[in-house]
């Protein structure tokens, strides 16, 4: 029986979309309002999906307390109420688009020892969301 468990978490953060590879005019044209020099913020919703066998003793794929504390330590504490561009090392020279943020979260959670990470779905607003399930073999990014 194939089962996946998904847990949702909320975090609030600000970002600015600005690429060092583009000039001022191009940044302005491509990112529009998101290029505002002072940044802006979102209430992000992170959906973490894991899979694995159901432990017959507990009826669980993963102990929710273990998953919650792992996600709190790896994602909520380092990202919640931060300015992604300045407060997070990974975004010092990488544009913190929600695509990149989604991939960063996947990379940070893929070693969760309690179950196998399947994918991350990251909502930037109620209208925009992004999903990342890792790279296929031989298709490493960065």
């Amino acid at each position: 029986m194939k089962l996946e468990l998904t847990r949702c978490y909320a975090l609030a953060a600000s970002h600015r979309l600005h690429s060092a590879h583009l000039d001022e005019a191009e940044n302005q044209r491509i990112y529009g309002k998101c290029n505002n020099p002072y940044g802006h913020g979102h209430n992000y919703v992170v959906e973490v999906t894991v899979t694995g066998p159901v432990d017959p003793g507990t009826g669980m794929i993963a102990h929710l307390g273990d998953l919650d504390s792992y996600v709190t330590r790896e994602i909520i504490e380092p990202f919640d109420h931060t300015y992604l561009n300045k407060d997070v090392e990974a975004f010092r020279d990488r544009v913190p688009t929600t695509e990149n943020f989604c991939m960063e979260i996947f990379e940070r959670l893929k070693r969760f020892p309690g179950a196998q990470l399947v994918r991350i779905r990251l909502e930037e607003t109620g209208r925009n969301s992004f999903e990342y399930a890792g790279q296929k073999n031989g298709d490493e990014h960065d």
Partner: protein, 138 residues
């Protein structure tokens, strides 16, 4: 292939307790969910059926028919019940979202004869759900 999803809600009580564990272990592993008197949730169930449309009706499966199956197989069994005591299939299992979703799959799969049951998504609360795909690959 086209997919249709129908959503229903049911309210039920449950308790997490494994008689093979000591009282202390049960409390440590299951926390508040081990409360002897149980607790409850408003479950939201999304049932997805995939198939080809019947050229005469334009439907994979008549929603009315699916509604009746869900009423008979799920609502009558689980709505306003204490799952541990009133759903025999769960008597020897911990009624976690995983086990309930797997049971719902087993109950529905043989009853859906037009199209094929593709996914059962069971929300226990707005921040937790389980997807069951049966034995099929996603």
């Amino acid at each position: 292939m086209v997919y249709l999803t129908r959503k229903i809600e049911f309210s039920a009580a449950h308790r997490y307790h494994n008689p093979a564990f000591s009282a202390e272990e049960n409390r440590r592993i299951f926390g508040k969910c081990n409360n002897p008197n149980g607790h409850g949730h408003n479950y939201v169930l999304e049932v997805t059926v995939g198939g080809e449309t019947d050229p005469r009706t334009g439907m994979v499966l008549d929603l009315k028919e699916l509604k009746e199956i869900l009423e008979r197989e799920i609502m009558n069994r689980m709505d306003h019940r204490f799952l541990n005591y009133e759903v025999p299939e769960l008597a020897d299992q911990i009624p976690t979202c995983e086990n309930i979703a797997a049971l719902i799959w087993k109950l529905l799969a043989p009853k859906i004869n037009k199209g094929r049951l593709t996914r059962v998504r069971l929300w226990e609360s707005s921040d937790l759900y389980v997807d069951c795909y049966g034995d099929g690959a996603r």
